[in-house]
Symmetry: C2
Subunit: 166 residues, 2 copies
DNA sequence: TATTTAACCAAGTAAATTAGTCAAGTATTG
DNA sequence: CAATACTTGACTAATTTACTTGGTTAAATA
């Protein structure tokens, strides 16, 4: 079973996107800034999210990504599956053959567990996450810190230097 | 979050033990034979299971391992935790600090998921697993194939050779 | 008492996976 | 055409997994 940072980053990024994509496409650089996720890594993840049609991309200046579906119809389970392959907990990937071609003692247990996890994740929509109080708090905190202008690393150094001079 | 073969092997081995430990201790070599798990790997796992008092060991000839608790009071979650450290799905290990010391957008989601998984695994006892029809089927199949005598690899070769001669 | 049995223990290791980086593109806008 | 921003693929360091090797120690039995 896989649930690693890859999946967690993907859900976090999609939630960020859901909050900020009302006024047109959001560039990955912004999400990277806000959520502390490496830009190149986000690129990889969104490439997969686009291939599964969870997001749409707009190229060129002013471009970025938008959700390809309403937040209330976009479920966490889909996002994880899109980047993480599968959430299956069996060793045999459902083929019932992990003990030399035969079903092992615990196959059904893991199958059952996988179903429960899938049910849970597929039942929670982005919309639902957006409405949680604690998520709103975090977003609020991030809006305070977040600069409306996108700052490159080079520019940041310049600004820091300027501040040091003051 | 971790749920790998390590945890799966541990549960399978413990279930095998539950089925066969009525007449005294079961040596790991038998479990290894029946469940196709490397003996040395089983030793590592059972070392951890013993340290958490889920099993007791008897050394010397006729020795082996026994369950240290009734199957109805021994839960799958405990076994996995004993060998696998934790089933926690958060990135921050519950510390709410994975985004540079602060709580990330999705912390509560993973916390919630972890709770669900724990609940599920801690609610299923070995006893319950033993009573499932499909598990009984697999055990039955294994008893047919299983030789009552423990055969070393060397002896196996000899037997195979003998059969070839016939 | 010697031998066998089986638990116990410590290291090492090959393969896989993760979480990225880096570099060279291509498409779109102004 | 130049700047912006997405796209792609290859590469990498660190970590984890699933083992193996090579022993030592304790108990029973011949
Ligand atoms: S997990 Fe499917 S057969 Fe073992
Ligand atoms: S998972 Fe806990 S703060 Fe991000």
């Amino acid at each position: 079973m896989k649930l690693s940072s890859k999946g967690r980053y993907a859900v976090t990024a999609m939630l960020d996107l859901a909050f900020h994509s009302k006024k047109g496409p959001v560039p990955l650089a912004e999400i990277s800034e806000r959520q502390d996720i490496s830009l190149s890594y986000l690129e990889q993840l969104f490439s997969k999210l686009r291939r599964t049609n969870l997001v749409a991309s707009v190229r060129g200046p002013g471009g970025g990504y938008t959700l390809n579906r309403e937040p209330e119809n976009l479920f966490v389970g889909e996002i994880i599956q899109a980047v993480n392959e599968n959430i299956d907990a069996t060793k045999c990937s459902g083929k019932s053959d992990c003990k030399g071609g035969e079903k092992c003692l615990t196959h059904n247990l893991w199958e059952n567990l996988s179903d429960r996890i899938s049910d849970f994740l597929n039942q929670i929509s982005l919309q639902e996450l957006m409405q949680k109080r604690d998520v709103k708090e975090v977003v609020g905190r991030q809006s305070c810190y977040q600069s409306s202008v996108i700052v490159t690393d080079l520019e940041k150094t310049t600004i820091d230097t300027k501040l040091n001079v003051l």
